[in-house]
């Protein structure tokens, strides 16, 4: 009892002091964190990490798939487009693939905490302006990531506080128009507030690049929406879809943002004037192996500095050809399609796609496989058939018989025996005049990279993957060991955005747009200018930006997915050694459906993804979910 009295007395005496003014020791106050440049840097690193950048760690399950167990089979976004197939998987797009909802609102909350605190910070006005611009850039990026997936979404413009009433936290969806306009507004705020420097944090220029891309997306949805009419509550409430009348103002916004970058004097195309197509191919490849060598072209780089979980990425182990796997058991997963390869122009026929012609008859729509009745054209090497095609093909794909890491990459689907009988994709060998010939071009699985189903390690399209691959060092056989950097925005995309916005809307400077288109082609070794047409812009965009995770969104925003992918088989090119030509070594090629694959059909409802948790959040669901 006496002790108790003492205790009470003690409390009473002390409590008069500052007990109510104690600072919590488990929390950092906004003014402490953001008042210190080091604190801002730390907080910013976390925000940038959460940005929806579709880089080397972006897969079906979402962003930053480079944690402790990133084993997703290497199924890249390119494999649900017409750019590539996986060496084994035949999957297409699931409802929740590439979704980004909860992480989006987490990022939005984190950035709102920052932007709400800015007015109360004791920092200079210039510093406040820079922070305002940076947080606007992050908000724009986040809502762009949401709008292109879900249409109109709840706009949470400042931090929500929970005060015991859950209902008050529920914010209904804004219309798709309001959502895009909010993205535009935040881009404009960022452009007006940010400095003109360069670097890896947001600048005025990265904000322009974001606006160029986002506005083009919105404009396309408005213009091409009628290609895929939808119905349901979300449509009648305008939560998805834009009126066609909105197209031109978004195209105009994209044009203006691109023009700012084009007039900035800070950016240009890397190596714009190559001496030959061979040089152009190597320049193009080098730019992606290390974007830092192409500082003039790179507007915004996401760096991968250290190997390790949550730091490095897995592009090299998944996608380099089997022959250079260096002990890694699962290489060779990215197989560029013949459909993409066909698209690259020939220098002697500018402005036209150049499907690979394999027979004297010349039918490039025959995918029925080897037919002894046809007159196949014989070539001296497994890649002569591609000679004269756009340099970017050679910089993007590993073609049969070309060299990679000083190793000739062998991609062969079989042979035709001297008696005319073909052996295709069946493990076999034949001895003619003392020499032995193998189906896959070599006797053992470590010596070739094509068509054998062994381990799923060999290409089944006839092409392996080169763009982004690091040739400078051997494969490290483990997770998250690659540290090549990713260009999120580069100048060529801005030029292509500009050309597309001009040609689709008829607004802006058509001559400048044609020049932008042809500058990119010139950098790829072309010498003849082609006219500015919608078809030319789209073909150029597909070959220049291949595998940069743009194609998926191009098919979405232009509402071409459901027509491009309607029972669609992807195609392969089978190189065969023609032993009928012995002693000369000659190759023939067969156009075919990708072996062991099914057709792919896009469901139009997937133009908008399902919103998760509508039972709890009360939001209106997108149609047909």
């Amino acid at each position: 009892m006496r002790r108790f009295i003492l205790l009470v007395a003690g409390l009473a005496l002390f409590s008069c002091n500052r007990v109510l003014e104690l600072k919590p020791t488990d929390k950092i106050r906004a003014e402490d964190l953001f008042g210190d440049p080091a604190g801002v840097k730390l907080y910013m690193a976390n925000l940038y990490y959460q940005l929806p950048i579709e880089d080397f760690t972006y897969f079906r399950a979402g962003f930053n798939q480079n944690g402790g167990d990133p084993n997703n089979g290497g199924f890249a976004p390119a494999m649900v487009t017409d750019e590539a197939v996986h060496s084994e998987f035949g999957d297409f797009i699931g409802n929740n693939d590439f979704a980004w909802w909860e992480p989006a609102y987490k990022l939005i909350r984190d950035v709102n905490i920052l932007s709400d605190a800015i007015p109360s910070l004791s920092i200079t006005e210039d510093e406040k302006k820079a922070l305002t611009g940076e947080s606007a850039f992050i908000k724009a990026f986040a809502y762009f990531g949401l709008a292109k997936r879900y249409g109109g979404v709840p706009l949470i413009k400042s931090t929500q506080k929970y005060e015991g009433d859950v209902e008050s936290l529920k914010v209904p969806r804004s219309t798709e128009k309001e959502t895009w306009d909010y993205v535009m507004e935040q881009c404009d705020l960022a452009i007006a507030s940010l400095g003109e420097g360069t670097g890896r944090r947001a600048t005025k220029w990265t904000a322009c690049a974001l606006k160029s891309r986002a506005a083009l997306h919105a404009a396309s949805v408005a213009k091409f929406g009628p290609r895929a009419t939808m119905s349901g509550d979300a449509v009648t409430q305008q939560l998805i879809g834009l009126d066609a009348s909105a197209a031109n103002s978004y195209y105009d916004a994209s044009i203006k943002a691109s023009e700012m970058l084009m007039a900035s004097g800070k950016f240009g195309l890397y190596e714009p004037d190559p001496a030959s197509p061979e040089v152009a191919a190597e320049n193009y490849r080098k730019m992606f192996q290390d974007p830092n060598t192409a500082a003039i072209e790179a507007i915004f780089i996401k760096g991968f500095t250290l190997p390790g979980n949550n730091q490095g990425h897995n592009y090299d182990i998944w996608y380099q050809p089997a022959q250079v796997a260096n002990g890694w058991p699962h290489p060779g997963r990215m197989n560029p399609t013949l459909d993409l390869v066909d698209l690259y122009e020939r220098y002697d026929n500018p402005g036209q796609p150049a499907p690979v012609v394999t027979t004297a008859e010349g039918n490039v729509n025959d995918y029925n496989g080897y037919n002894p009745a046809l007159n196949y054209i014989r070539f001296d090497t497994p890649n002569d058939i591609f000679k004269g095609k756009d340099a970017r093909l050679w910089g993007t794909a590993i073609l049969p018989g070309t060299s990679f890491k000083e190793t000739p990459i062998i991609i062969q689907a079989g042979f035709v025996k001297p008696d005319g009988q073909a052996v295709i994709r069946t493990n076999d060998q034949v001895t003619v005049n003392g020499a032995t010939y193998y189906t896959y071009g070599a006797p053992s699985t470590t010596m070739y990279s094509g068509f054998d189903t062994y381990g799923g390690n060999n290409t089944r399209s006839g092409f392996s993957f080169k763009k982004f691959m690091n040739q400078a060092s051997p494969i490290t056989a483990g997770w998250n060991q690659s540290t090549s950097d990713f260009m999120e925005f580069r100048f060529a995309e801005i030029l292509l955005n500009y050309a597309e916005a001009v040609v689709e809307s008829g607004q802006g400077d058509a001559a400048a747009a044609a020049k932008a288109l042809n500058d990119i082609r010139k950098r790829a070794g072309h010498t003849v200018n082609i006219p500015l047409t919608a078809a030319n812009v789209q073909r150029e965009r597909r070959v220049e930006l291949a595998f940069e995770n743009k194609r998926y969104w191009d098919l979405i925003r232009r509402r071409e997915y459901h027509t491009e992918f309607n029972n669609r088989m992807m195609h392969a090119l089978l190189p065969l050694l023609d032993l009928r030509a012995l002693p000369a070594r000659k190759y023939i090629f067969v156009r075919a459906n990708v072996p062991n694959a099914n057709s792919k059909t896009f469901e139009p409802k997937l133009y908008y993804k399902p919103i998760p948790g509508i039972g709890a959040n009360g939001l209106v669901q997108n149609p047909q979910y």
Partner: protein
């Protein structure tokens, strides 16, 4: 200790009563019937007509979606008995209004509809190395007929969304009900998909240019090729 046992026992006994709801033991089934010909209205399973049902008593409620079989019938035998708002949506017929239906036991609900397009006098025959389809179209709305097609697949649920081979023709016009349309598939040039000596299913269809309207079909035909 004894108190705790009593407490747990109480929980165990109580829990049974609270959870004793009926399982999903009700069924809804029926057909889509052409108002004029009284025939079933052919459908697609993939990307076909759907029926949205919204269970009463919950707000917000996630709509359940029933798909319709190719022959124009549908059934779902795992529903909770309750009142539902039922409406066929995104169909191949003129819109049907929503209706409230008490579903319990085996509830049957047929929809009498006017298909956007009736495919008349359809014939699909093998003629040498070609499969030839002929048919007439009768449209029941004023918008354009967008496209017609002949589709082939190894499964009887063949249609525009599910086919190995298609012969299609863009129409984009109002059609003359007396015009005979002809579509054909050349077999040798599709030999990797339609293999000689096997049997395949064929169906002709047409789609109206009206929002997300679905294809109308004539009944499926099986041919040995």
């Amino acid at each position: 200790m004894k108190k705790m046992i009593i407490c747990m026992a109480a929980l165990v006994f109580m829990a049974c009563e609270k959870d004793n709801y009926d399982g999903p033991n009700a069924a809804l089934s029926g057909s889509f019937i052409d108002a004029e010909t009284k025939a079933l209205v052919e459908q697609d399973i993939i990307r076909g007509t759907t029926i949205e049902i919204a269970e009463h008593g919950y707000d917000p409620v996630e709509k359940q979606i029933l798909i319709v079989k190719n022959d124009g019938t549908y059934a779902n035998s795992l529903l909770f008995a309750n009142t539902y708002t039922v409406q066929p949506v995104r169909g191949n017929f003129i819109d049907v209004a929503p209706q409230d239906v008490q579903i319990s036991g085996n509830t049957t609900l047929d929809f009498t509809v006017v298909p956007y397009i009736r495919i008349k006098e359809a014939s699909i025959v093998k003629n040498g190395t070609t499969v030839v389809a002929t048919f007439k179209l009768q449209q029941n709305v004023t918008t354009h007929v967008k496209k017609i097609g002949l589709y082939a697949h190894q499964d009887s649920r063949v249609g525009e969304p599910m086919r190995f081979v298609a012969a299609e023709s863009e129409i984009n016009a109002v059609v003359d009900p007396n015009h005979v349309y002809t579509l054909s598939i050349d077999l040798p040039s599709n030999s990797s998909q339609l293999k000689p000596g096997k049997s395949y299913y064929f169906r002709v269809g047409a789609v109206i240019d009206n929002g997300d309207a679905k294809f109308n079909y004539a009944p499926v035909v099986q041919l040995d090729i």
